[in-house]
Symmetry: C2
Subunit: 330 residues, 2 copies
């Protein structure tokens, strides 16, 4: 499907496209703020809320290396061992599909990812930087051969030259990946840039069964706006999280996204209930969400790590000090 034909939906915003799949990333992306150490009742409530809300996929954590990231130092959602998954979801006899993310160069994917027939997981999402593409494609193949649906999430796309994005797309469309994601890791992209990237992704995926996805961060309060921009253009996979829980400024808010989508299968109330009871109570400790330091790293197209360190320090709130420090480093 071309970008042009995808765009016709824009003229009918009261309608909906059944093909749009919503992926909850609350526990997976949120885990970057607490070393993946969520209490079971939080994970279980998010899971149950996803089921009740009609969400398509829940990404429950990472399958990253237990050698590089020892279980004693990280919570269970860094590794998604089968026994941890089943403690929460049983056999997952629901319509919600489960996903886990594996990071290129951080995952012992060949051994740690079980055959799909032995796992409650349905999908493996491979996260990669541009220079790790060959490895990432091997990870996609491994997961696909094991029977999983797959996505490839090309991180920090805002820092990659256009020609390299195109090379990556050329490699990708020859793979059997299910979807390829535009990932605004640094929350630095404006809608015009999202539009240009999506149209590039659509062009390469045209004539293939590969869907385009969008994963946005909220450094400049554009996560929701950029997500719906991509969806209106034709992206059929949209990532979001409860209360926007995620690294730094966080993600596209699920509660906003479900309010926008018009597929009657979606329900907003279970999401609000879970946010009130389980997610918002975490905010004062996890400190995710739009804040000046993240706005500034987004403006500079940088990883939010400097903002995260600043917000965890006693200098939190000294906005001008952080701005001066970042400008000096430029």
């Amino acid at each position: 499907m071309s970008g042009e034909s995808r765009a016709t939906w824009a003229d009918n915003w009261l309608g909906y496209r059944e093909e749009i799949k919503v992926v909850d990333v609350t526990i997976r992306d949120g885990g970057l703020m607490n070393d993946h150490e969520f209490a079971d009742d939080v994970v279980r409530d998010v899971y149950e809320a996803c089921v009740e809300a009609g969400i398509d996929y829940m990404e429950i954590g990472y399958i990253n290396s237990q050698e590089q990231f020892p279980p004693g130092e990280f919570g269970p959602w860094k590794h998604c061992r089968e026994e941890d998954l089943r403690r929460i979801v049983g056999n997952n006899d629901t319509s919600l599909k489960l996903a886990a993310m594996a990071d290129a160069e951080k995952s012992d994917y060949k051994t740690d990812i079980l055959p799909a027939s032995e796992s409650v997981l349905d999908m493996i999402r491979v996260a990669t930087y541009i220079h790790q593409m060959p490895l990432a494609l091997d990870m996609v193949k491994d997961a696909s051969d094991k029977g999983y649906e797959t996505t490839l999430n090309l991180m920090a796309v805002s820092t990659v030259p256009e020609s390299e994005v195109k090379s990556a797309l050329e490699m990708l469309v020859r793979s059997d990946v299910g979807a390829v994601y535009v990932v605004d890791s640094f929350g630095s992209l404006y809608s015009e840039q999202i539009r240009a990237l999506c149209n590039m992704f659509f062009k390469y995926c045209e004539g293939t069964p590969i869907e385009v996805g969008i994963h946005a961060h909220n450094n400049r309060q554009l996560a929701f706006a950029n997500t719906i921009e991509a969806v209106v253009l034709g992206a059929n996979c949209a990532d979001a999280s409860f209360a926007g829980l995620g690294r730094g400024a966080g993600n596209c808010q699920m509660e906003l996204l479900l309010g926008f989508l018009h597929n009657p299968k979606f329900r907003l109330r279970p999401v609000l209930k879970c946010i009130e009871q389980y997610v918002e109570p975490l905010r004062s400790k996890l400190l995710w969400g739009y804040d000046y330091p993240y706005m500034i790293t987004g403006l500079l197209n940088q990883h939010p790590r400097a903002g995260m360190a600043f917000n965890a320090s006693e200098d939190r709130g000294k906005i001008v000090q952080f701005y001066d420090q970042m400008e000096e480093q430029e």
Copy 2:
């Protein structure tokens, strides 16, 4: 200028249009959260920061009726008496222009608005609902005859049938108003709707000197996104406020807008400094900004007053209770 020719700029987002005027509404719109009772040092610091930041206009308050709104019950920025203005800005010997807003049916404009030659104000902005258009046009004429620049802000446009918006525009383009604003009072519009409205406004203003402006609210975290959408399409007047201070979910954040605009006359640092020292310290008392009740009123295309009352009550934080209450009323 047609919508089409305006849009060419979208292909060159690193450039800038000199015609774009930024209007600070911090004290005016923020005054709706504290009965316009700001300490002088806050107003003075916002004023000085606007000057240093290269902002074009500062809207400092309302000129509304002292009979309807007795000075004892409201702070000085409900009336913008000349002595109050001059206490803050002296003779305003700066490049910053000053504006005040007059509400249709709430302003004794004929008597309370001095001739421009006797005032430090440069611009009168008339706020009107659709049914008050004839009165609003008389207010525009009065201000224009007195020597002011003028704008007309058509509030709550998300609730007005398209045919009536067109009738209002037909009346407006025969007036000598300087700019006409798309005002998303309830924070309920998506970018596609902003686009449709802006293009309608551009079409009527084509061939006239009337500019199109945008005033967005942040109920669904779209205030900034919708503002830059309108600017990219060709709107040349953009309202924003420091830290988004404004009624309910607040406005487009000045700090985000200045980060987006590329005119080198703009400076971000003075805005951040004022936010850190004077604006953020007000947040715990004024309670503006994105929050679930405002998201819900935005979703329902309703005035934020129910959300404001809920957030001021002891039930604040009981998101599901508010959602159920609003759904029941639908």
